[in-house]
């Protein structure tokens, strides 16, 4: 078989296979990945690095930029926490209970993934302004959502909570009820069953989902800019600042901030991989 021979000539192939097409599929994958992802990524990182460490630091710690981190990361932390609470609730209800319309609910959870962010942004804004369906009941009580950090949190929670549901739900579904049953028969009450049996299993997944929700919230643009008000120093998020710098032709400034954001994204990606590895190891230990 000729394919076997070609595979062997590629030193990094650890086990030869009778199947053809490795060279073609692998080469295409690598070229495509390099052209679409790696080269553009390198371009932005190199541009950020070209400014030198001092220049980079100067750009990414300017007062307006620091204020945008505070707004973005602060809102993202609150939004991720809210996503964790409501995502856990939904995952629990979907995994454990049967009720009419459950399939529709299950499908609806993915709506924030499917709905374009610009649409989410303008419809959330329409709901929370003083004339909106929700805003008209909040504004008289002095609760302002649209054009305040609260609005940013709402938009970020909207795009973030499905990550928690989709991370936790399969773990809860796979959890053998026999475990809970055993705990119950040994006299554990509902609270004990939750904290001692369910929480330890669901915890890594919950953390993974929350980290993903946070990452999405921190990098979010479309759904936030409409509801945020975009006041520099107050409600201006970091991604919008990048766009503003680009529009002012300040490419170096934009590249530096983008480099800082990429560092954050990759840290979270690393964290999520570690969490998943931890979760799998725990699962492995249990069985």
């Amino acid at each position: 078989m000729p394919s076997k021979r070609t595979n062997k000539s590629w030193r990094f192939v650890t086990r030869s296979s009778p199947l053809p097409g490795f060279r073609l599929s692998f080469t295409f994958t690598l070229i495509y990945l390099t052209v679409i992802v790696l080269i553009p990524l390198a371009a932005i990182l190199l541009h950020a690095a070209r400014q030198g460490f001092i220049g980079f630091l100067h750009t990414v710690t300017a007062p307006r930029v620091l204020a945008s981190y505070r707004v973005t990361l602060g809102s993202a932390v609150v939004a991720a926490s809210l996503s964790a609470v409501f995502g856990m609730l939904l995952a629990w209800v979907l995994a454990r209970y049967d009720f009419p319309g459950k399939r529709v609910v299950d499908a609806l959870v993915d709506l924030p993934f499917a709905l374009p962010t610009a649409v989410a942004g303008i419809s959330l804004t329409a709901l929370y302004t003083e004339k909106g369906w929700i805003g008209r009941y909040l504004e008289p009580h002095g609760i302002h959502v649209a054009f305040t950090p609260v609005g940013i949190v709402m938009a970020m929670s909207f795009v973030g909570f499905p990550f928690v549901v989709r991370s936790v739900q399969p773990v809860l579904e796979d959890l053998d009820p026999a475990m809970e049953e055993a705990a119950a028969s040994l006299g554990a009450n509902v609270w004990q069953r939750f904290t001692r049996v369910i929480a330890p299993v669901a915890f890594p997944a919950l953390l993974t989902g929350t980290a993903l929700a946070f990452a999405r919230a921190a990098g979010e643009y479309g759904s936030v800019i409409f509801i945020a008000g975009n006041m520099p120093m107050k409600t201006e998020i970091t991604t919008l600042l990048i766009v503003t710098k680009l529009e002012e032709y300040d490419y170096s400034g934009a590249a530096a901030i983008a480099g800082a954001m990429l560092a954050l994204s990759f840290s979270i990606m690393l964290l999520v991989n570690l969490l998943q590895w931890w979760g799998q190891r725990r699962e492995g230990n249990r069985t």
């Binding site: 394919s3 192939v13 199947l19 692998f26 932005i44 209800v93 303008i122 399969p170 009820p177 990098g219």
Partner: protein, 293 residues
Amino acid sequence: MRGHRPVSSSSLLHPSLAQQVGRVTLILLALLFLFGFLILPVAAVFTQALSEGWKMYRDSICQADVLSALRLTGLVAGIAVPLNLAFGLAASWAITRFEFHGKSLLITMIDIPLSVSPVVAGMMYVEVFGLHGWLGPWLSEHNLHVIFAVPGIVLATVFVTFPFVARELIPFMQAQGSDEEVAAVVLGACGWNVFWRVTLPNIKWALLYGTILAASRSIGEFGAVSVVSGHIRGKTTTLPLQVEMLYNEYNFTAAFAAASLLTLAAVVTLGIKKVLEVTTGLRRGNAEEEAES
């Protein structure tokens, strides 16, 4: 699993009144959350779009700018999705059918676009193809436009939808194993025959699922496309960008009318996804079971 499993424990089989109340409370809370957080925004889009009647709605959608935005969105998705489909097939074939060093690194790199902010994604291409970028001077010398033109929009869309098909196929083909393909090769089938007759029929639903996710995202992408588009009316505005432009011009009814088309697409996507999940057993974590049926 779904619903109640038959369990023997009296406490789980015959839940106490307190447990029943807790159950109903949690379900109601979840439904209330979904209503306020998901249903209301969708309802708001359609109400705003129709606030000045059907005729106005139709006129808003039939504007030349909106129609050309619709065409561009279709064109971009029509290029980006097949490209990523080809990539997804190639990547999952290489990754699931062969053993090589650096495989997990490759899988991790495929996930990169999921963790990069859309704005940063769009900006990467400005850095490469923009006037101040690496290839910018050469491109402008040859009168080629990538940034603030359709190719840039396609590239940005390809980037944000890059992992969808591959991520769907890799775990699926991994679980399926390569026995059938090996058997076909041993019996003398050539590579393309193996692919068309054995692999493709086995993975078709997972492939369709990933393609739908990619298509949905490519229709709705906003941030990445916004950075590279330049917002040239009628030329480089996709439908989500058109929504933004109309909204910023305080033309709310028209903005929501255009947004209602995107919302409709999103709802249809969710419907198809759910039907695929229910009828084919996808996403229930049992690829082998599905492969046999």
